[in-house]
Amino acid sequence: MSRLLAADFSRLWKSRDFWTCAAFMASFGAFMVLLGYYFMCRTGGKYSADLVCFGYAKLMGIAAAFFISLFWGTEYSDGTIRNKLVTGHERYKVYLSGLVVNTAGVMMINAIYVAAVFLLGVPLLGLPGTSFLPFAAQNGLLTVVMDLSFAACFTMHSMLRQNKASVTAVSIIAALILLLASGYIRSSLHEPKVYEPYTYMTDKGYVITREEEPNPNYLEEGSVKRRVFEFLDELLPSGQALKIEEDEVTKEQAGRLVLYSCLVVLVSAGGGIAGFQRKDIK
């Protein structure tokens, strides 16, 4: 497999799709820093680079979908996957090599965002505080497994379908749907149990006081729906991305997130390899 890895990494390095994604994420990182700098100047408040350091997470699903479907789709659109199979490389090795290189690509895109944030953020916003390191280590680890699970899902899709254009469109739409679904799940989970009492004055000058009211959208503790939502929130890589970005992962949760990511990777890579073994390549 080392030969395949050498060939795929060499192609990654020359890939315009990869550098386009990397440039976009670097620009996004720079934009986040400049936005922080702007607020700091306007409000006079304190702002540091670590606050936008994990801002990539929300976009990683879309970036991974874009990069992997274009990068790996080229193997089918140019027909070059045949060169690997004709010369005797076993299919599971071709798949695994693709998975490794796609994952590495996604991680590098990630790293380029972080590098852009720190290169621009440290001079403009100053160094992050000492409390940043442990939290960065945890989120860094979670980012790696999140990237892996995104890469595994989109690699499976790119390997099993041979039409580059449709793979790209479907992957990006799927990434958006995942993000929206996770956003909905999280907002549902964060619904308050009751609406707080409040008082307001009408146009005619009457003062009206509303009593505390139960929130009909609240998901009851221990209910099946809440459990399912909590499970999906932690299982879906898009849910993990939102958690990383908002920095709300506890230590117990971190273990579970890693476990769920591993599960996603195993299921999608296992299914992908099984499907790819049987696939008729044109």
């Binding site: 080392s2 030969r3 395949l4 050498a6 060939a7 060499s10 192609r11 020359k14 315009r16 080229t74 140019d78 027909g79 070059t80 996957i81 045949r82 060169n83 690997k84 199979l85 004709v86 010369t87 005797g88 490389h89 076993e90 049987r278 008729d280 390549i281 044109k282």
Partner: protein, 303 residues
């Protein structure tokens, strides 16, 4: 005879459509095997199957003695170079970068052969031009160069003349003949340009509707297709005596007919036969080309 590729009752189905049916073929070592068939006859499907891009639905094949179901088949495939349908090249890379990529896939330690390979296929002056700006013929040549990387023992080419200009076709033909003669590379080549194939092939396989209709060597085909005079007489032994006396090459087909492979002096032959007490019943000239042989074999009409 040693065969590098053999198929036995090979079948391939796509849903209810049967692309290959009970196909048996033998590609001898060192041969240029011309694989002939109409569009949709199953040529490309067979090539995809033997190249490992698709799995057969029935039957089996052996490549360098390794069955397709054995683990050794992957090792045997390392001896194969192929261009299946369209050339498999990265359009965003130069010819040189494409070959470097192929060298990495093959695990070749050095790129020093690349200039010679580019020279061999006539692409040495393409410089930094990317493959997407190549003509179809140039891509075809690059595809062949990619297939030749790593010095394969078997070269599988699917319609290699597609997109090539007449000069390009001649060059590719010369290249294949050179590779076959100098490096003893076995070539399996599918084509429906029969005239071109007849200048190359040492063996032929005729396929129709996924089934091998006939395998024949070029020598056998030549004897079948030779220009000859078909003679019908009342006494075949007398004809044989006369032709032997005249020093003519012939082949007896039945108790009354024979093919004579020479220009026949009709009056002289008729007189000689009369003296032997034999009557010349009919005489006709016959010539068959690869094309007419193929048409006769598979039927001319579209089905």
């Amino acid at each position: 005879m040693e065969y590098v590729l053999q198929t036995r009752a090979l079948g391939k189905r796509y849903g209810s459509f049967c692309a290959l049916k009970d196909l048996t073929m033998h590609v001898p070592k060192g041969a240029i095997y011309g694989f002939v068939g109409k569009n949709g006859a199953g040529k490309t499907t067979l090539i995809r199957v033997v190249c490992g891009l698709q799995k057969p639905s029935a039957g089996e094949y052996t490549l360098y003695g390794e069955r397709n179901s054995s683990r050794g088949i992957h090792k045997a495939r390392r001896r194969v170079g192929a261009v299946v349908e369209t050339p498999s090249v990265y359009l965003d890379m130069t010819a040189k970068d494409n070959l470097k990529e192929q060298y990495r896939i093959l695990g070749l330690p050095s790129f020093e052969d690349i200039p010679q390979l580019l020279d061999l296929v006539g692409l040495s002056d393409t410089g930094k031009k990317k493959a997407k700006h190549f003509s179809l013929g140039m891509r075809q040549r690059l595809g062949i160069a990619m297939a030749l990387a790593g010095d394969p023992d078997l070269l599988v080419l699917d319609e290699p003349a597609n997109g090539l200009d007449p000069q390009g076709i001649v060059e590719i033909r010369e290249l294949l003949l050179k590779l076959n003669r100098e490096r003893q590379i076995t070539v399996l080549i599918s084509s429906h340009i029969l005239d071109e194939l007849s200048r190359l092939a040492t063996h032929y396989g005729f396929i129709d509707r996924g089934h091998m209709v006939r395998e024949i060597s070029a020598e056998e085909l030549e004897s079948v297709c030779r220009k000859c005079t078909c003679v019908e007489v009342t006494d075949i032994k007398a004809l044989a005596r006369v032709l032997d006396a005249m020093g003519m090459e012939y082949q007896i087909l039945s108790g009354q007919t024979a093919d004579i492979y020479a220009k026949v002096p009709i009056t002289k032959l008729a007189l000689a036969l009369w003296e032997e007490g034999c009557e010349l019943v009919s005489i006709q000239e016959r010539e068959e080309s690869l094309e007419s042989y193929y048409i006769n074999l598979v039927g001319g009409g579209r089905r």
